[in-house]
């Protein structure tokens, strides 16, 4: 087991503040150095906020765990310049097949169009993901990863939070203006604020296994309903790096998880699936039960919750880590403006507003997939089987086959930060939507649109350059970027995706989402939109 990867051991280092007995106030302290905590550290660094990360462990994720990372998180990680090794090491994919018994019931393509830098999905073992982010953090001066630092308790005051932390050298206190809790589904931080966490547990279990083997299966997600090798249950297959394959088996509610995890019980299942003659090695095994739950709100005073600490979903559709990364994308710029005194603390409530909205979309989709994969009632089971049988021969039924709707960003269609369109636009780039990527040419070189924006407000202008280089509203600057002057849209894809008719202007948020758009450059309208998107009144 655990042979294909050497787990790093990160050094515990006593902080000067603990050693010297000094009480230090930090702008941001992040709890948890998993994928979301590390993303939070990199986001803070990108925003110029020094970040402390506390993790009670000293290594990366054991086992491949999340595996599937979607396009939007990759775009976010690209803003921190950490996505390239992930895409290189990971296995990119976009096609999926769903089988019922022996036959193909349904196929899907996650990215049926060209002209995007990032792939639809990559499969990458979580330990690699974390390793790359840790390496990036270690290269940055303003990120301090503190291993073997366990948060014991916290106390909120009007202006700051006191944290009591335990290390191998004992217990000490530190202070923070804001805390970002990224400590996972069983978050202790959530308990410390008496945070509500409600939803439903599903009465079912899945066995997940990392299996090392060489074979020629195509790079596609394969899902089976009632295959001959695992009757009346479901199975899932994903390819990862290093010839490691992820295989999931539905166990049902009656299964004993401790028994099911034992290699002597896992290996026969794998042999049934892969054939007696296939050589393989078991690398890692785990059993999990899933739940769809969320906190009532993601801001509790000066403590902000992100990732599984805030919301937990069943895994069908890869909406767990992928949603958490987008939480941080939404939070970072808002925290920066509040810390700088350029926006009221109310802006942090819009983090909760927008990300609760996204969490509900993800919970809805995960729940629907789970209901289809593990029907809750006899009648529901009949409908599920009816869909699968009809799908074999009839195309109409195929869109009903639900083995997981894969993670996509949730446009904040009703967000209080949007400025409603006053004119007609074609395409998808409505206020509240994440910006589509497009191939562009800059200084004679092929590059990508999303790499030109992000981290600050941008005014994307199609057509003639305005007279100003930026527009300022209450200390917040939106920098002008002109298509045709600052880069070229040679293929026309950008203009098409944004309905970039002559003199069209977009106000883009630091998280690469559209805040507002107009058919002309109107400084007053722009100022009003900046005020709206930063809660300045």
């Amino acid at each position: 087991m655990l042979n294909t990867y050497t787990y790093p051991e990160f050094d515990y280092v006593q902080s000067p503040e603990q050693r010297d007995g000094k009480l230090v106030r930090h702008p941001v302290v992040i709890i948890g150095a998993g994928p979301i905590g590390l993303t939070a550290a990199l986001e803070c660094a990108a925003q110029g906020i020094p970040a402390i990360v506390l993790d009670d462990n000293n290594t990366v994720s054991i086992g491949s765990r999340a595996v599937c990372y979607a396009k939007r998180p990759l775009e976010i990680w690209d803003r921190y310049d950490v996505a390239t090794p992930m895409v290189e090491k990971g296995v990119s994919w976009k096609l999926g097949k769903v089988f019922f018994k022996e036959k193909l019931a349904y196929e899907f393509d996650l990215l049926p169009e060209e002209g995007h830098k990032m792939p639809a999905m990559i499969n990458l073992q979580q330990y690699y993901l974390e390793e790359y982010m840790v390496a990036k953090c270690e290269s940055l001066d303003n990120v301090d990863l503190r291993w073997q630092h366990k948060l014991l308790s916290l106390t909120q005051h009007d202006d700051y939070v006191t944290l009591n932390v335990e290390t191998p050298d004992g217990i000490f206190a530190l202070e923070a203006d804001y805390v970002i809790a990224c400590d996972g589904a069983n978050s202790d931080t959530r308990k410390m604020v008496n945070g509500e966490f409600s939803g439903q547990f599903f009465q079912d279990r899945f066995l997940i296994a990392d299996v090392v083997m060489k074979n020629d299966f195509p790079t596609e997600r394969w899902f089976w309903f009632d295959p001959v090798f695992h009757k009346n249950q479901s199975a899932l297959l994903h390819k990862q790096s290093d010839d490691v394959w992820r295989i999931d088996f539905q166990l049902g509610w009656e299964a004993d998880p401790e028994e099911a995890k034992k290699p002597e019980n896992v290996i026969p299942l794998l042999k049934q699936m892969l054939g007696e003659d296939t050589e393989f090695e078991l690398e890692w095994v785990s059993v999990y039960q899933f739940a769809c739950r969320r906190m009532d709100k993601f801001r509790y005073g000066r403590v902000l919750f992100a990732g599984d600490a805030a919301h937990q979903v069943s895994p069908f559709g890869a909406r767990g880590a992928n949603t958490g990364v987008q939480d941080i994308d939404n939070l970072g710029w808002k925290l920066k403006l509040v810390l700088d005194g350029k926006a009221p603390v109310e802006l942090l409530d819009t983090y909760s507003e927008e990300r609760v909205f996204a969490a509900d979309d993800n919970l809805k989709n995960s729940t629907r997939s789970t209901d289809f994969i593990t029907p809750k009632s006899k009648s529901s089971r009949f409908f599920r089987d009816a869909v699968l049988q009809l799908a074999e021969q009839h195309e109409f039924a195929r869109p009903l086959v639900n083995s997981g709707r894969l993670s996509t960003p949730t446009p904040y269609v009703a967000s209080s930060l949007n400025t409603t369109d006053s004119e007609v636009f074609s395409g998808c780039m409505a206020p509240g939507t994440n910006c589509a990527d497009a191939p562009i040419v800059k200084n004679g070189e092929d590059t990508w649109f999303l790499n030109q924006i992000g981290g600050e407000f941008t005014l994307l202008v199609f057509g003639e350059a305005p007279e100003v280089e930026s527009v300022n509203q209450g200390g917040v600057d939106a920098r002008v970027l002109v298509v045709g002057r600052d880069f070229e849209d040679q293929t026309g894809v950008l203009t098409e995706r944004y309905d970039g008719q002559e003199s069209t202007v977009y106000l883009l948020r630091p998280d690469q989402h559209v805040a507002a758009r107009w058919r002309q450059f109107d400084r007053d309208a722009i100022k009003a939109a900046i005020a709206t998107v930063t809660c300045q009144h």
Partner: protein, 66 residues
């Protein structure tokens, strides 16, 4: 009620209603309970797809549930 929403047709609209009714019963006479349930589920899905309109389907479900 929005006059632009399609309405469920509750007027008599089946060709040869007695023939249809017998066909339905005959198709299921020799089936087990489970087989009947599965077949009914499939029939609902086939017909729902043919209708397509979400508002009409919702109205149909409300009639069935009452």
């Amino acid at each position: 009620m929005n006059p632009n929403t399609a309405q469920l047709n509750l007027e008599p609209n089946i060709d040869n209603p007695d023939d249809f009714y017998q066909h339905l019963i005959d198709m299921q006479r020799d089936l087990s309970e489970d087989e009947v349930q599965l077949m009914n589920a499939k029939l609902i899905l086939v017909l729902a797809n043919h209708i397509g309109d979400k508002a009409v389907l919702s109205q149909a479900m409300e009639v069935a549930a009452s």
